[in-house]
Amino acid sequence: MKVAQEIRLAWRLLARDWRAGEITLIAAAIMIAVAAVTTVGFFTDRVQRVLELEANRLLGADLVISDSRPLDPELRREASRRGLAATEILRFPSMVMLRDRAVLAEVKAVSPGYPLRGELRIAERLFGPDRVAGTIPGPGTVWVDERLHTSLDIAAEDRVGLGNSRFAVGAVVTHEPGVELGFLSGAPRVVLNAHDLAATGLVQPGSRVRYRLHIAGDSEAVEAYRAWAQPRLRSGIRIEGVRDARPEVRSALERAEKYLNLAALTSVLLAAVAIALAARRYLQRHLDGCALMRCLGASQAVIVRLYAVHFTVLGVLAAAAGTAIGVGAQAVLVLWLGRVVTVTLPPASLAPALHGAAVGWLLLLGFALPPLVSLAQVPTLRVLRREFGVPGSPGLFAYALGMAVIAAMILWRAQELRLGLTVLGWFVAAMAIACALTWLLLRAVGTLRARGVSWRFGVANLRRRTGATILQVVALALGIMALLTLTLIRDDLLRTWRESLPRDAPNRFIINIQPDQAAAVGRFLAERGTAAPELFPMVRGRLVEIGGRSVTADDYTDERARRLITREFNLSWATRLQADNRIVAGTWWERAPGRADQFSVERGLAETLGIGMGDALKFDIAGTAVTATVTSLRSVDWDSFNVNFFVVAPPGLLEGYPATYVTSFHLPGGRVEVLNALVKAFPNIVLIDVAQVLSQVQRMMDHAALAVQFVFLFTIAAGLVVLYAAVASTQDERLYQATIMRTLGASRVQIRRAHLAEFGLTGAAAGFVAAAGASGLAYYIAHGFLRLAYAPDPAVWLIGIAGGALGVAAAGTLGTRRVLETAPLKVLRALG
């Protein structure tokens, strides 16, 4: 046969199969797989970018470059060349004067375009209604914040002094982006037009000025710009996105990504199972045709080629349809998210569509090809002896290619080899456990020698086809498990996740509390109705040695590591482990009291700086060296918004050094007077407002939760296809059996009961396995993945088993209803 002839024949086979409904299921499975992967791809691509954009509103930009010296103008020119928005800001401390009063404030000189991200909100008068500024102060005008306004007691016509100039006060700043810890964060603020800066004479060589270049634009362009700029910056110049600046935001974003990736992986796994089941059924139904073709002289090679073309075309068509669905779904999503997200969604890139199509196609290859190859090997004798060439349960080996595709997917999605291998290992182990569990259940059911031919027939049917039954139960269990996880457990998990950041999470930090003020500050806050805050001692020290080896920024290439090593660390001491900390290696000293020269180090920091268990860390604290050994590593929930420390010592090591205290508390909105009173009572303390960061993280969590729920719709669809495919995979055999039974005199009731027994038992077994899997999965997701405390609901077992039995029995009896309605002769002729 010539190639063209073969292709024509393959096309005709495909068309015939399509008309006969033979490939509907397999096409649906591919379509859903591709649609799911594509949509999830768009989600993880676009929504993730939205989340980052939202997060960037905190920073006031997508990227900030800052230095204590004027920045190279080339940095700004390059940004403009790349089509990025850029604006420069100068920040410095200065006295602001009015009449006989002078207050130290932080001055921010801004240029048109500020802020690039987020909102600057102003009010016409103190405590008046505010609005988005939309511009910057005009020349000769400054905007001040409420605290400066109150401190200087500014009246309508007053002009405040700044260096050599005097300015009218145009508005009161109520909200500004660009929250930054550390730099005079507690001071009152003044916003000034950069145009007026020179006249003030405040910026002189040696002044404490921070020059900042804000950059914003398309995220890929920003990343490209960052890559361009990074090597051109001399050391000491900082370049940061919001992830660098805020551990809370980084933590929340990473969790959202993990959740989305998990959803994507689940969809892919389910789709793979659906395709494998659908392909298996296709194989069973095409054995005769293939035997006949071989009988008529087609070689194995010809048959393999015919079906390869057949399935290539099917794959391309179904993948195209799936991609179209995915694109449509994400368009719906854009409309829908458009109502809750306040930033413009970035345009969809082509990559997720290509990924989706490629994944669907690879899944088809991996899971449909093995049965097709065995189709070519069908013995020609089958035309005479139908019982020849009935395929057994395909071994795992046959699906090696498919497994490799899945493994590659997991590794790619997890984007981290260790995590990917862990997930993969768990998946393989879970499948093995599920098979073993099903086998045990079948044995147990087999001992239930009960009354009634129908029940006995149903039970016997399951046991007689142990291999096929295990395959079916495990496939059903996967589908049910997905549904259980996504409906019951998802809500729990999402709720637990959101509750991990309660609405009354701390939104203010106080630092620089002197030891003799600690008790008084605590009392002050408690008297004003905030929960009695916990105060933590803090000693500042520079890390100079790790494991006896001195360290400097030059020892690291990683930007975060270089930055960390040049800064002073905040060290603390404590007896108890904080509630949002978890020991991941070693032992906390409360359990093994003894030496005082121990440190407990946050895991992320240890990884970044290459600190290991047992390493001696030497800190330089106010000129004195303090050395202690790392005896534990902790994971910290940074997004709990509690005070936390990278390095903690047991009591007794650091008490002798100059310490200040730090605390965090929740201040309900609108209670600014508490802050003013606090600052008046304790003038030396520094107040840091993280309310914006907090509400931003909360908003991000809400959006991420919505996104995850949307993605899970596809996972549910994939789960339903798996259920249908699993039931349909043995439908022909059941139809045939039931027809023989009817020919031999079985009543409809007998057949229905036998089916009920068989499907019900299959469903119950699958429900049991699924409940076990869902509980395990939820536990794993909560503890290993999202690091949340979570206890699975025992109702999962009841709903899993009862739901599985009822659902599968209903679906199965519905699917085999045909046998009770069709004349046996027709079924015998069609199937026999």
């Binding site: 031919v453 059996q737 009817r742 009543s747 004349a823 002769l825």
Partner: protein, 227 residues
């Protein structure tokens, strides 16, 4: 062996069957009437497509006719609903098919036990074993169909057909899938068992060796019985 005084066990009256394919209506059987007395052996012959297998299916209640009626042992088959027909089959009718129609997931013994189990027989295993021994498969009880030769499979099917002691046995080309020698052995077995149990045998066949052994031969041509 024809016995004109024996009771009529099967009575076909004016059976017709039409099927619609697309827009054309196809007549498969038209006005087929005949009677079969208890203990008779009757062969239905005709060229391929003459409607033999359809007629057999209608006589057994496996499909519904477009016209006419079928009486089995005095019961009007098509006055019964599907369950009623199934119950009647279970009580009175046995089958042997050209393609054996054994359930592949069951052993030889389980296949033979099936009709007894369906009829709610108290003891299914012992008579099934005995029947398999009778057809010469006493040593192959626990073999699956795919482990048996064609002739052996047909013997299992015959054992399954006779294990319920049916009054009426339908056989559709019972030797159609077998070589001449094996076919001959199977036919010998079929007629032996028929004689032993006094069953009425109605079979569709091309095989002249079979028609020669039957009491009566009905010729079917283009859906009509030839006089």
């Amino acid at each position: 062996m024809s016995n004109s005084r024996a009771q009529i066990i099967l009575k076909a009256s004016g059976i017709g069957k039409q099927v619609t394919t697309g827009t054309t209506e196809l007549t498969i059987l038209s006005d087929v009437s005949f009677e079969v007395r208890a203990g008779e052996t009757v062969a239905i012959v005709g060229v391929s497509g003459s409607g033999k297998s359809t007629l057999l299916g209608l006589l057994a209640g496996l499909d519904t006719p477009s016209a006419g009626s079928v009486g089995i042992n005095g019961h009007d088959l098509y006055a019964l609903d599907e369950d009623g027909r199934a119950a009647l089959r279970g009580r009175m009718v046995g089958f042997v098919f050209q393609s054996f129609q054994l359930l592949p997931a069951m052993t030889a013994l389980e296949n033979v036990m099936l009709p007894l189990e369906l009829a709610g027989a108290a003891e299914a295993a012992a008579p099934s074993r005995a029947m398999l021994a009778r057809v010469g498969l006493g040593e192959r009880l626990h073999h699956y169909p795919k482990q048996l030769s064609g002739g052996e499979q047909q013997r299992v099917a015959i054992a399954r057909a006779f294990v319920t002691r049916p009054k009426l046995l339908f056989a559709d080309e019972p030797t159609g899938n077998l070589d001449a020698a094996t076919g001959g052995q199977v036919i010998d077995l079929l007629f032996e068992l028929n004689r032993e149990s006094g069953t009425t045998l109605l079979l569709v066949t091309h095989d002249e060796a079979i028609t020669g052994r039957c009491d009566r031969v009905l010729h079917l041509s283009a859906g009509r019985l030839q006089a």
